[in-house]
């Protein structure tokens, strides 16, 4: 087990979650697991990567919201760091609960840990339940195709699914666009292994210039955009839904552009900062 600081435990209990006397919430989120894992993640967040966060005020401090992000980097680094930012930065902290691929449900150990951290198998029933219980949901409408992006495609967006938007309409949930920039630099995928992956039961295995997809310590940028409200009941025609999905997609693309634009300046600042604290 990881030694947990008082500060970390305090943040866990500041979360708006109905933990029972054993520190377990109705979705199986475990206070002790959160504290331990966020202890590790906070080191990555503050010390290994340099994470730049912008627009935190757009995330409401309570109530249902749907964070809709772009995939960046060959695996869930984007989601994990977004979760970490929302746990460490705002007061009170918030727990962003990710919609995971189905294999998370079957996978021993890793699946169990993900669930104890609040991840949920990504089916509509689960998303609806979380939102009806005023949770903060983190979704990636690009799906697995998004994490398969190669280095050269790192700041582009692939097709969005439309399910998230109908869900937001049905549950009357605001959508908060989130851009993640730098994942492609941290894990520059040069190609993906598919055949071996299928054998191991995962969709693909990203390969970087140094082989396995261990991220390098680069700058990561997270931009939270302004909440977008759509009015409807979720049974609209596809053509309307697609227009609204594109609105969300464009909002994210705009945030990504901003991130790409600012990246150089932020990295210079980083170099200056690390020059002061050499490790």
């Amino acid at each position: 087990m990881v030694p947990v600081s008082d500060e970390m435990m305090k943040r866990v209990h500041a979360l708006d979650l109905p933990f029972n006397r054993y520190g377990i919430d109705p979705y199986g989120i475990q206070a002790s697991t959160l504290a331990e894992v966020f202890t590790v993640l906070s080191w990555l967040y503050y010390s290994y990567f340099r994470v730049h966060v912008s627009g935190l005020a757009n995330v409401p401090s309570a109530g249902r919201s749907m964070l809709v992000g772009n995939h960046s980097g060959g695996w869930a680094l984007d989601g994990i760091m977004t979760m970490t930012a929302l746990f460490l930065e705002p007061e009170p902290p918030r727990l962003a609960q990710g919609m995971a691929e189905r294999f998370i449900g079957r996978a021993p150990l890793i699946g169990q840990m993900a669930k104890a951290m609040g991840a949920i198998v990504g089916i509509p029933e689960n998303a609806t339940h979380l939102l009806e219980h005023e949770r903060l949901l983190l979704v990636y409408p690009e799906g697995a195709k998004g994490t398969e992006k190669l280095y050269s495609e790192r700041n582009s967006l692939v097709d969005f699914g439309t399910g998230f938007l109908r869900l937001a309409l049905r549950t009357r949930t605001p959508i908060i666009p989130v851009a993640f920039v730098g994942g492609g630099e941290a894990i520059p995928t040069i190609f993906n292994l598919y055949k071996l992956a299928r054998r191991l039961g995962v969709p693909y295995i990203p390969i970087t210039p140094w082989g396995l997809a261990v991220p390098r310590p680069t700058t990561l940028q997270i931009y939270f955009g302004e909440p977008i409200w759509f009015e409807g009941d979720g049974n609209e025609e596809d053509v309307i839904i697609l227009r609204w999905v594109n609105e969300v997609k464009e909002a994210i693309a705009k945030l990504i552009s901003k991130g790409v634009e600012e990246r150089h300046r932020i990295e210079i600042n980083r170099t200056k900062a690390t020059a002061k604290t050499p490790w």
Partner: protein, 312 residues
């Protein structure tokens, strides 16, 4: 009110009968098993629900309400004779209700009908498809009985049918599906999995069934109590030792070396959770559980029905 309870000799059956009797109802029971020491004001008829003498009980007692608790799950029994008991006897009970003027029928079912699967919703609503039948042949009869009972909702419009899908029972009587699993000192768990278990104290189950009777409701309702807890915690708090083993070793150890026994098909039940959303029932009946998860686990461990906490 005149209430007839089938399966009255089971632990929850007795608790419901006693509670109803205390509340001033006229209670009668049916069971093939005896209820030694049954209160004198609760006559018990030892008949088979599928045979004619059972109908005679309906005919002469003419109950206004029937609580059908005579369902068995495969973890408790497994003889071939009982395989079709649930569906066949459920058909008869609803037929008798219809033929002999009952106004309300409560089918006491289980939340396990939804099935345990890796990709199923974390919380099941009442309209979720009950998958357990095709996942576990042993549960097919229970699923069919549950769904068949639901058909009474349109087949017999004059009868208020209520199908309850209740979570696992746990408490001092130590006689339930979950209690059987928690029998041994060592509880086998599967390495890398720690599913949530949803259970309620036996007294809360009896109270929930009585509230279903007291309120004018009809339909299918999930019934649950406190927050679910992970299997490892459940084992610890009930004084057992959870032992994590790789899944491949399971066939060799259950029922031996001090481990609880577990039918092979039940393996998924300790890998994946089966959780139900009970908002509809609470809203319709104002039911609130009075024993929390700790009360139920400690009650099971100590055999003491007293509450350990001051929660209500």
């Amino acid at each position: 009110m005149k209430v007839l309870i089938t399966g009255v000799s089971s632990v929850p059956g007795r608790l419901v009968a006693e509670l109803l009797s205390r509340n001033g109802h006229q209670v009668m029971g049916i069971d093939r098993r005896p209820w030694p020491g049954a209160p004198s004001q609760i006559p018990v008829h030892r008949v088979d629900l599928r045979k004619r003498p059972a109908e005679d009980v309906f005919r002469t007692f003419r109950p206004e309400a029937v609580v059908h608790m005579a369902t068995v799950s495969y973890l408790e029994r497994s003889s071939d004779d009982l395989r079709h008991n649930n569906l066949g006897s459920t058909k008869k009970v609803f037929e008798y209700c219809h033929n002999h003027g009952a106004k309300k029928a409560i089918f006491v079912g289980r939340h396990t009908v939804y099935g345990a699967a890796s990709d199923s919703p974390i919380y099941h609503f009442e309209d979720a498809p009950p998958m357990a039948g095709s996942l576990y042949p042993e549960l097919a009869d229970l699923v069919a009985a549950d769904l068949y009972a639901g058909q009474a909702l349109w087949r017999y419009p004059e009868l208020d049918s209520v199908i309850l899908r209740i979570v696992y029972e746990l408490g001092p009587h130590r006689h339930s599906t979950l209690a059987t699993f928690l029998e041994g000192p060592k509880i086998p768990t599967i390495l890398g999995f720690d599913p949530l278990f949803q259970f309620m104290h036996e007294h809360d189950i009896a109270r929930a069934i009585v509230s279903a009777l007291d309120h004018s409701i009809r339909g299918v309702f999930n019934v649950a109590g406190p927050t679910p807890v992970p299997l490892s915690l459940l084992a610890h708090e009930t004084g057992r030792t959870p032992i994590s083993l790789p899944e491949v070793l399971f066939p060799f150890i259950t029922g031996r070396f001090g481990f609880s026994r577990l039918p092979p098909a039940a393996l998924d039940h300790i890998k994946y959770p089966i959780l139900v959303d009970d908002r509809a029932f609470r809203k319709a009946t104002k039911f609130a559980h009075s024993y929390d998860e700790s009360d139920a686990m400690i009650g099971f461990r100590t055999g003491d029905a007293a509450k350990t906490t001051n929660k209500v």
